[in-house]
């Protein structure tokens, strides 16, 4: 069902953990749907993401997309991080099963939420960043099956 890369990132997730006094923290998802992602950023004065950690409650794809998303933004500027889309995360993982695409959207949202938190804490505006939904229970659209 999953690609080798997804399995690798699930078995050996990169950047799991927390960052004390993080520059920005974003939590997205919804326990009701079975996925919650939290991303921590440590951002330096040059707006470069020095370190990133994540914690995820969810399926194999949710863990793998979190792990890959953190890899893709690590060492990047906040504007480069903003460009990391769910598509980029999926491509980097050699694809996801259709039913798991929402996991990659969650990863993109988690990055945005952490950036928003950083911007708020520092009283700055990040061009192009939309305010993430702060109620995580509204974080995901119900799909019809």
């Amino acid at each position: 069902m999953y690609s080798e890369k997804v399995m690798d990132h699930f078995q050996h997730p990169r950047n799991v953990g927390e960052i004390e006094n993080a520059s920005g923290v974003g939590t997205v998802g919804n326990a009701k749907c079975g996925d919650i992602m939290r991303i921590y950023f440590d951002i330096d004065d040059n707006q470069v993401i020095r370190d990133v950690k994540f914690k995820t409650f969810g399926c194999g794809a949710a863990v793998a997309t979190s792990s890959m998303a953190t890899e893709l933004v690590k060492g990047k500027t906040i504007y480069e991080a903003l460009e990391v889309t769910n598509k980029a995360v999926m491509e980097a993982l050699d694809g996801l099963p259709p039913v798991k695409v929402h996991c990659s959207l969650l990863a993109e949202e988690a990055i945005h939420a952490a950036l928003w938190d950083y911007a708020e804490k520092n009283g700055i505006k990040i061009e192009g960043l939309q305010k993430p939904k702060n109620d995580i229970s509204e974080g995901e659209e119900e799909e019809d099956y």
Binding site: P13, V16, A31, F57, G60, E142
Partner: protein, 396 residues
Amino acid sequence: MDHLVYLDHAATTAARPEVVEAMLPYFTEKYGNPSSIYSLGSETKAAITHAREVMAKSIGTTSENIYFTAGGSESDNWALVATAEAYASKGKHIITSKIEHHAILHTCEYLASRGYEITYIDVDENGVIKLDQLKAAIRPDTILISVMFANNEIGTIQPIEEIGAIAKEHGILFHTDAVQAYCQVPIDVDQMHIDMLSVSGHKINGPKGIGFLYIRKGVKIRSFIHGGAQERKRRAGTENVPGIVGLGKAVEMAVADMAERTAKEIELRDRMIDAIYKRIPYARLNGDRTRRLPNNVNFSFQFVEGESMLIMLDMAHICASSGSACTSGSLDPSHVLLAIGLPHEIAHGSLRLTLGYDNTQEEIDGVVDEIEKIVARLRSMSPLYEDFIKKTGGNK
């Protein structure tokens, strides 16, 4: 684990070697059509007659009430649709429970779209059907009650005899999906007032693609497949002779060793439940502690998600299943776990382990070790666990 440990016997089982051996001649040298007049045919006819007798005896009935089908889902579909049609002039109301298998629930949805009215009875927190609600739901136009004998996910055994008595008292037909209970608990269709009962072969170490529907004599039921005279003209088509012979052998063996086998399963089941409770905090047993199938263990582990557990168990060569959304192909977790009142996030963290006759104590102990490690690892990555620990300091 150093070898594959299979703990998903509620999903399917391996056919016993004796079952396969019994089946093999019926693919090759004993290939005659049971309806043929020559001896090559009468030989296979005798074989299926014998198998039918074995199945009939296993539920306390006689051969003419046993109808071979392709398995549990077909038996459920047939029982519901054909009864609904045959009794439509009496009424169009059917009562079932909220925790039925989809073979029942989706057939009920189909019937609802055809003008039937379905009442879904609630279950309590252990998954036992609410009998008061069931009684209150009965109307003059109620034609059928269908309640599963035991639940496939949480293993809760229903008060079948009481339901049968209620149905009989009101002159309503009673069907039970016994796919999980058959050969796990003794069944007597007369004593329990069961009018129809569904069975599947591959859950009892028989072959896949074969099962039967018991239909009490006198129950009007429409033919399911039209054509030849097989199955008293109710399900036409040349019989699946190897399958029937294999199922017959599986039933014979499962009935013969039921007491011994289920006693061993209960011992292993309880050993596993006790060990999990003792060693893993924030775990909840789903289903009734005692009114429970001998082979069923179902736990919810708070703060972790089921599919992740299954993948990690698979990496440790352990087969199990979960009621999480990710394993159901939808965003909602199992309807059974929601019906017993679990919040979504707890339902997502469920793990079902179902035993078979050849599981050992060493396997069970090894699996509990793995589960303990996996739950701890996933919790260390879980934002829900992080929040919980920060809030409570980790105290229960």
